[in-house]
């Protein structure tokens, strides 16, 4: 049910984001429960991706953006945190798969090497572990040194997740990860996410309500940059509290 006693993995407090004169997010205050899948849903342009990129401070990379309010990771504000440390703890997978133009092996060792996380012997084990976590190991074990660009779209996306996991994050952000995948690949992806949630906190932006129903533990409905409603998934989808939520779910707009 709603009352999770564990401390929230991430929180936002009065978060507002504007691009110039346009307000993308208005006064958003939410708590993301740990070790669960939270889906962010809403109509196009409501600020889902903007909110997501606030969690790992990637929003700052965009020129001309102003962020007000606070974002907390495990209770501590991320404002003062070193960016590389923040992003080790909060990983992200983007909409289109972006494997680096290297081999599968090198894609996965890239992060750990950067952070001097493991020696060569340990790397192999790390890689195997993460590939198994995303269910990709059996498919690539024969040739880890083949180009990551030669994998199918679904495989690439799972590779990106594995890559994000190599640096041992606490939270994993996913921005519409299945939008460029076919039905079969999507199914595999959803299965992977369900496996992962026991270890990681997962926040997923999706425009696919059915998908949210399938995998989410909690759902957050954004509209026009404002948070409208957040509740355990079953509750939100079956008995939405607010009128806009009801309208959205019934397909009146979006």
């Amino acid at each position: 049910m709603m009352q999770e006693q564990a401390a929230p993995a991430m929180q936002t407090v009065n978060l507002s984001v504007s691009y110039g004169r346009m307000r993308a997010l208005e006064d958003v205050t939410i708590s993301i429960p740990p070790q669960a899948i939270t889906a962010i849903i809403g109509p196009s342009g409501c600020g889902k991706t903007t909110l997501l990129t606030c969690f790992n401070a990637l929003i700052e990379e965009q020129p001309g953006v102003r962020v007000e309010g606070e974002v907390l990771l495990a209770g501590k504000s991320i404002g003062g945190m070193r960016r590389d440390l923040l992003r080790r703890r909060v990983g992200m997978v983007t909409q289109t798969p972006t494997p680096f133009p290297f081999s599968v092996y090198r894609n996965l060792t890239y992060g750990p090497r950067y952070y001097h996380m493991a020696r060569k012997a340990q790397l192999d084990q790390l890689i195997r572990e993460k590939l198994e976590m995303v269910g990709l190991y059996d498919e690539v074990r024969d040739d880890l040194h083949r180009s990551a660009l030669a994998l199918s779209g679904g495989q690439q996306q799972r590779l990106c997740i594995a890559r994000a996991l190599t640096v041992e994050p606490e939270v994993l952000l996913l921005d519409e990860p299945c939008s460029s995948l076919d039905v079969k690949a999507t199914a595999k992806m959803e299965a992977t996410l369900l496996d992962l949630k026991s270890t990681y906190t997962i926040i997923i932006v999706t425009h696919n309500i059915a998908q949210a129903r399938r995998i989410a533990d909690y759902a957050l409905f954004l509209n026009g940059g404002r948070m409208v409603e957040m509740a355990p998934a079953k509750q939100l989808f079956e008995h939405p509290h607010e009128a806009p939520t009801r309208d959205f779910l019934s397909g009146a707009f979006g």
């Binding site: 680096f100 133009p101 890239y110 090497r113 994000a164 640096v167």
Partner: protein
């Protein structure tokens, strides 16, 4: 058949004919050069020609000999060295530009660096002689003229091309991968150094190969600084390049003599090598786009340290480039500004020693005449060709072929165009030395420049807009006339102005075809005329007494080019805003 329809068909045929003319020019120039070169090999075996080191075109009693080995070596040596220097600095500057967060940096930097591209070859040689050679002389090299000096000057000349094409490639790769790397917490520069740069390797290599082509075709600047001695090139020694030999000896060779054919043969060798390079690059480009699934060999290594090194390298390179631009313009203006006066700009040269008094008015007018003629003769086929490729051609292969041909025309060194014009137009067709002969050579030179820009302008227009016109039943030409041309007006005019600048700075094609040391104000295109770059070159040759006037001339040229660049860019911007609302 309505009048409208008849006109449309007529104009469509005109466009096609002009496009064909443009392409035909390449074939003709190449074939002509080859035809004039072949008779040499009836007397001199190919091996002797290519590998011989003795070049004695005139018989002083010891027989004649035509061996171009040292010239080939000189050309290659200077070009490779220049490329190495330019790559080091240019790639760094390109990294800086690609990594820069705000578009403003790029928006300001590109035109700034493009100024370097607008500086005429002869001004580079001039400054090279007075600055670079002096440095070497102070270091102990007699006269300071050497391969290294020429390489430095040449490197600065090919920098703008390298920087713009490399930064384009880097930017594309950056947009693909930077975000993903940042989600891992990797710093911006580390990502650039370990992912973006390796990813762009193939495209960068292609740019380098193309740059070599440009370097090898350079004539004036290199000729003024390299020393011109028929010896095997050494770093601090003198050398000679094929374009130098042709420029220095072209007019002397008696028509039909072995010397004459030998010069053509040397030009042919250079031209064929450059054509081969262009073909190679084109082939590799096609293979490259199909090979997008291969992984990059180097990359992913280095992490933070690579990022730090890359940042320093990029910053230093960019600073160096900025300094070079400021120095070049600053030096010329500082030394020449005081010579410029109303009299200087409006009076012909006078004085018992010509150039000491008076001004350069006929040179200014002459240059404008050459340029206008060249732009008309070359710009019209260029735009027609671009229209043809963009809107008429159906098969992609044909389009690719036409682009290849245009690129090959661009690869012909300007001195060879001058050689062609001299031999064919001045002599064979008996047009004599006149503006028309020279302008035809300039037109061929300028044509690819304008064509590429026109094509780019047309490609930026959304196809959907043009299709909407077709959907209404309009003919192709009608769509072109009413939609395409007005929409692309800004870019087209800008491209033409920049092409004019390019023609303005060219010296080599004028040398024996229509540029003279003295003439009155130009009155007809069948008469020769003075030209600013040629005037500068001759003043430099005259030596110390004319240096002031030389600087003044250089100043005027640079000012014209600066002004034109500014006008062209501003016009393109202004009209673009109108169209895109």
């Amino acid at each position: 058949m309505t009048m409208q329809r008849a006109l449309d068909i007529f104009w469509s045929w005109v466009i096609k004919a002009l496009a064909a003319l443009a392409l035909f020019a390449l074939a003709f120039v190449v074939l002509f050069i080859v035809q004039e070169a072949l008779p040499l090999f009836g007397e001199v075996p190919v091996a002797d020609f290519l590998l011989g080191t003795r070049w004695m075109p005139v018989d002083f009693g010891t027989g004649t000999s035509f061996g171009v080995f040292n010239f080939i070596a000189g050309t290659v040596a200077v070009s490779l060295l220049a490329l190495a220097l330019a790559a080091l600095v240019g790639l760094g500057a390109a990294m800086f530009l690609a990594c820069a967060q705000s578009d403003l940096v790029r928006a300001v930097s590109y035109p700034f660096i493009d100024l370097l591209a607008g500086v005429p070859s002869v001004v580079y040689g001039f400054v090279g002689l007075l600055v670079v050679a002096q440095v070497f002389m102070a270091a102990g090299i007699s006269t300071g003229l050497c391969i290294m000096a020429a390489a430095i000057v040449l490197a600065v000349m090919i920098l703008p091309f390298l920087i713009s094409s490399c930064s384009e490639s880097l930017l594309a790769e950056r947009n693909r991968f930077l975000l993903a790397a940042q989600t891992l917490g990797v710093s911006r520069w580390s990502a650039m150094a370990t992912i973006v740069l390796p990813a762009a390797t193939r495209n960068i290599l292609l740019s380098l190969v193309l740059a070599i082509g440009r370097a090898m075709g350079e004539t004036m600047a290199v000729m003024m600084v390299i020393g011109n001695a028929n010896v095997f090139p050494t770093l601090l020694g003198k050398g000679e390049t094929i374009p130098s030999v042709i420029a220095l000896e072209m007019g002397t060779a008696v028509a039909g003599s072995l010397h004459y054919h030998a010069l053509f043969a040397a030009g042919m060798v250079l031209m064929l090598v450059l054509l081969a390079i262009n073909l190679l690059v084109s082939l590799l480009r096609n293979r490259l786009s199909q090979e997008g699934r291969r992984s990059v060999a180097l990359g992913g290594y280095g992490g933070r340290r690579a990022g730090a090194v890359a940042r320093i390298w990029a910053g230093a390179s960019y600073a160096l480039v900025v300094v070079a631009v400021l120095f070049l313009f600053g030096y010329v203006f500082w030394r020449g500004a005081h010579t410029i006066s109303w009299e200087f700009l409006t009076q012909p040269p006078s004085g018992l020693v010509l150039g000491e008094e008076g001004g350069i008015a006929p040179a200014i007018a002459g240059s404008l005449a050459f340029t206008a003629c060249a732009v008309v003769l070359g710009g019209i086929p260029a735009i027609a060709c671009a229209l043809y490729v963009s809107f008429y051609v159906r098969s992609r292969r044909m389009a690719g072929l036409i682009r290849l041909v245009v690129q090959c025309i661009a690869g012909i060194p300007s001195i060879i165009l001058g050689l062609f014009a001299y031999s064919f137009l001045v002599r064979d067709l008996a047009w004599g030395r006149c503006v028309l002969s020279a302008s035809t050579a300039l037109a061929v030179m300028v044509m690819p420049f304008i064509e590429v820009r026109a094509e780019k302008a047309f490609s930026e227009l959304p196809q959907a807009v043009v299709n909407a016109s077709y959907a209404l039943g309009c003919s192709r030409f009608h769509a072109i006339r009413t939609i395409v041309l007005p929409a692309c007006k800004g870019e087209l005019v800008s491209g033409v102005i920049l092409g004019a600048c390019y023609a303005l700075g060219a010296t080599a094609p004028l040398l024996f075809t229509g540029g003279v040391a003295f003439a009155g104000m130009p009155t007809s295109i069948m008469e020769p005329a003075m030209a600013l770059p040629l005037h500068l070159y001759l003043l430099v040759a005259q030596g110390a007494t004319s240096l002031d006037t030389a600087f003044g001339t250089a100043c005027v040229m640079m000012a014209l080019i600066l002004a034109s660049n500014a006008v062209a860019t501003a016009y393109a911007h202004a009209t673009q805003k109108d169209w895109r609302r």
